[in-house]
Every structure is written in structure tokens, then in C-alpha cells.
């Protein structure tokens, strides 16, 4: 069976002069349609680079990324990508930023604004529709990016540390929102996180990467039932078992590396 996204023997090096930084080495991963994948790994190991390659912004040095049966050779317009650094347009206010993908698609002004205002509410940015990105906090900018990606409703959502800047309560609200919308729209989701709790709560599969160059250190299926109650799932025994097992394997993994 072939997956929706297949990362086949992908290596990626960044060259500067004679100096090559190897970000990924022989990375293999198959992602099924409607799967939710969490990627965890040490800082600087190559997680963002991986997402960039799925989005077609970087090309692999070796190997290839297959998306729905075709190799990704150019910008992959079937994915929505929430980058690690927010990329809101500084001269547009929150509402116009979030409505931007609809504007590009030629949706008329009244409709796109109405739809933008609706998602703005969902991410808790109401009252800030007319503010400019520089007037927002880091976490608010992240939420604006999230809202924009949700409104765009791409077939696959790539999210690079989407909730890193949020407080614990808001995180839960956003988790809930992400899972609900992804399920409603039948989206495939790949997200990067440093938070194991978040990874287990949201994902169908957790991929743990090694230090740079990133390879898959271990992979854990999370067979908690869906739809998940993001607030309470963490208190179930199944969750604890999975979490503890992963934590133990992570500990061993990093210990081995340190030796």
C-alpha cells in the first residue's frame, strides 16, 4: 500500500563553500491519508527542513519526496504550511492576513471577510481583526497563522511548533480546534513539537528523530480512540502507559547518543 506522503531515502545537506551541514540522512517515512503525525527531535536536528521538503520549498540532496504518487519538484500547493517563524504580511491587518488565501482564490470580499472573522473567533483573536502583525504578541501571531491555515483548508497541514508560544489553557483550546477541523475536513496533519504530552495527545503516530543529521530514532503508534478528549485523555491509563513507554525509550535513546 502506498501512502499519501512518502519520504524515500531523503538526505539533505546545506552547502556553504566547502562546509556541508547535513540536516537529514537516509530518512524514510510513509504517511497515510488523514493520519496525524507528530515529529519530535532535538533542536537543530532537521525537523523544519523535513517539512520544507514536503512543502517543496527545499529539494532533497538525495532521495525523493512523493506526494500522492508524484515526486515533489516544485512548491506543493496541496499543503498548508504553518512555518516556525510566522510569515504574516506586515502591511495587512489580522483579518486581511487570514483572508489572504481566499483573496488569492478570488473569493469575493464580503464572503472572505465573514469567513475570516469566524475563524478569528475560534482562535480567540476577536477584537484584533484590525490590528497589524507588529501589534500582536508572538503567541497571537502564531494563532493568526493557524487561523489562516485552517481557513485555507489544505488537504495536508504542516505545522512547525504551532503551539510553542501558547499558555497551557490556550494550548488545549487550540489542540481541540486542530483535531476537530482536521477531522471535519479530512486533513492529513504533520506537526513538529518539543512537547511529548502534546504529541501523544494529538497524534496517531509519534516519530522521534536523532540528533543532526536526523534519522528516525523510533516510531510509536498511538492507538488512543478518536475523537479524543484533549482535556481528559491524558488522565487515562492507556495514555499514561504510552507516555511512560515513550519517555523511557526517549531516555534510553538520548543516553545511548551521549555515550
Amino acid at each position: 500500500m502506498t501512502g499519501m506522503i512518502e519520504i524515500q531515502h531523503v538526505s539533505k545537506g546545506f552547502r556553504r563553500g566547502d562546509n556541508v551541514v547535513e540536516a537529514l540522512r537516509d530518512f524514510n517515512l510513509t504517511i497515510e491519508k488523514r493520519e496525524v503525525i507528530a515529529i519530535i527531535g532535538p533542536s537543530g536536528c532537521g525537523k523544519s527542513t523535513l517539512l520544507n521538503m514536503i512543502a517543496g520549498l527545499y529539494m532533497p540532496s538525495k532521495g525523493r519526496v512523493i506526494y500522492k504518487g508524484a515526486a515533489v519538484t516544485d512548491v506543493n500547493t496541496d499543503v498548508g504550511y504553518m512555518t516556525q517563524k510566522d510569515n504574516l504580511l506586515p502591511w495587512r491587518n489580522v483579518r486581511d492576513n487570514i483572508a489572504f488565501p481566499l483573496e488569492l482564490a478570488g473569493v469575493d470580499k464580503a464572503e472572505r471577510e465573514a469567513r475570516a472573522v469566524a475563524v478569528i473567533k475560534q482562535v480567540g483573536l476577536d477584537g484584533f481583526e484590525a490590528r497589524f502583525p507588529t501589534e500582536l504578541s508572538g503567541g497571537m501571531r502564531k494563532r493568526a497563522c493557524l487561523a489562516r491555515m485552517m481557513l485555507y483548508g489544505a488537504e495536508t497541514a504542516l505545522l512547525d511548533e504551532p503551539f510553542a508560544a501558547l499558555d497551557a489553557q490556550l494550548k488545549l483550546v487550540m489542540h481541540e480546534l486542530l483535531l476537530r477541523l482536521a477531522a471535519e475536513n479530512g486533513q492529513t496533519v504533520v506537526f513538529v513539537t518539543h512537547d511529548l504530552m502534546e504529541a501523544v495527545t494529538l497524534a496517531d503516530r509519534v516519530i522521534v528523530c536523532t540528533r543532526r543529521p536526523a534519522m528516525i530514532a523510533l516510531e510509536q503508534k498511538i492507538s488512543l480512540p478518536r475523537p479524543r478528549d484533549v482535556l481528559n485523555v491524558r488522565f487515562t491509563n492507556e495514555f499514561k502507559e504510552l507516555y511512560d513507554a515513550l519517555w523511557e525509550r526517549l531516555r534510553v535513546e538520548y543516553q545511548e547518543e551521549r555515550v
Binding site: 512548491v75 510569515n87 482564490a105
Partner: protein, 270 residues
Amino acid sequence: MTVSNDQLEIAENEMSTGTGNLVMVLCQTALGIAILFVWQGVSGRLVDNFFISNPLDVGRRLLGWTLDGSIFLHLWATVYATMLGFIIGAVIGAALGIWLGISTFASRLLNPYLNALNALPKVALAPLFVLWFGLGIESKIALAASLVLFLVFLNTFAGVRQVDQDLIDGARLMRATRLQVVTKVIVPSALSWLFAGLRVSVPYALIGAVLGEMIASNRGLGYLVQFSGAQFDTAGVFAVLIVIALLAMALNFVVDIVQNRMEGWRIVSR
């Protein structure tokens, strides 16, 4: 709460600069009057009237030109050449800047030629413009436009080159067409640079127009200053200089107003 805080701060600023402004304007007026008195006193006593004329003569000359309306003819000719030159130069410069900024191939191809043209003192083109466009106002417009064009071009080009690649990538991922990337990301992003270019080039438009009129013309402030000089009419020369200075200040004033508007729209300030 934050809103009222902001308002308070703004109000305080306005008050402090408000009183400061009034005192400053009084000082400035006093200085101007003092200069006029010294000028009047020195003229004919310490320095020959032939070289520096005197405020009363200059005033009489200005009054005479105003009453017979001749100054307005010249003023209008210069303003007209400045504005048209500015608009033409700005449009061509901005278009060229955007095009070359986007097209790496074209900018590399044209790079040495543009450098050479840019280094060339544009005034040296004046005879060519006279040959091409005649002695009329068209050659002045061309000279003003040539000065403006390069300033606006260089700024716009730099602005387009500065555009954050992440923003372009983001738009492309959201299925922006090439044209949409240009109109919705590159141009708005380069706009603050474009406006900076427009702003600095306004005085150059005036310089181009006046220089063009000085070289060959029968109308305009440049012609008038040249003509007065040739007649050894020092008072006339000073009178025209004052008119040109006032015109330059008026242009700067207009630019300031426009820029404030733009800042209100958050285009210039990022």
C-alpha cells in the same frame, strides 16, 4: 486601558511640542527679520549694491512681477515641468525597478549599462533633450524625469530585492499566481522603499526643471534667473531665488502631507 494610556502620552507630547513650536516660530521670525535688516544695512555701505542688491529692491521687483502677473507664467511653467517630469520619471523608474528586481536575468544583463547611465551626470543629457524635444517645455520635463527616474529606480530595485523570501514562499504555497505574488507581496513590501525614493526625488525634479530652463528656454523660473543675471539685475536674481525657495518648500510640504497619510495607512511604517 492601554488605549487611554496611549492617548495620554500622545496628548503630553503634543502639548510639550506645541508650546515649544510657538516659541520656535517666534525665534525663527525674529531671525528672518534680523537678516533682512542686516542685509539692508550692509548693502551699499559695506558691500556694493550691485552684488547683493537689497531687500527693498527685491521686494519691489517681486511686487511688480506679481502685479503684472508675469511671475505666475514663469512659476506655472516650472511647476508644470517639475510635476510632469516627476510623474513620468517616477512611473518609469518604479516599473523598471520592479521588473529588474524580479528578473534576475535582466538585471544581470543590464547591470553595467545601468551603472554607467547612473554615474553619468544627467545634466549632460540636456543638449540631447533639446535636440530631441525642442526648446519647449518637453525638454525640461525630460531632464527632470531623467533625474527622478534613476533615484526612484534604485530605491524600488533595492526594495524589491529586500522582499522576505518567506513571504513569497508562503503566498506561493497558498496558490498565488506569479502576477499575484508581484502585486500582493512584492510590490506592497517594496512600497516603503518606493516612497522613500519618491520623497528624495521631488527636489531633484525641481532641479531638473530649473536647470533645463536655464540652458535653453523663454519661460520658467530657471529662464528668469538666467535672464536677470544676464541683465546684471541682481535684485531680479534674488527675487527669483526667493520664489524658487518658496516653491521648493511648498513641494516638501506636499510630500510631508502625503507621507503622513501613507504612515496613517501603515504602508511606509512597518
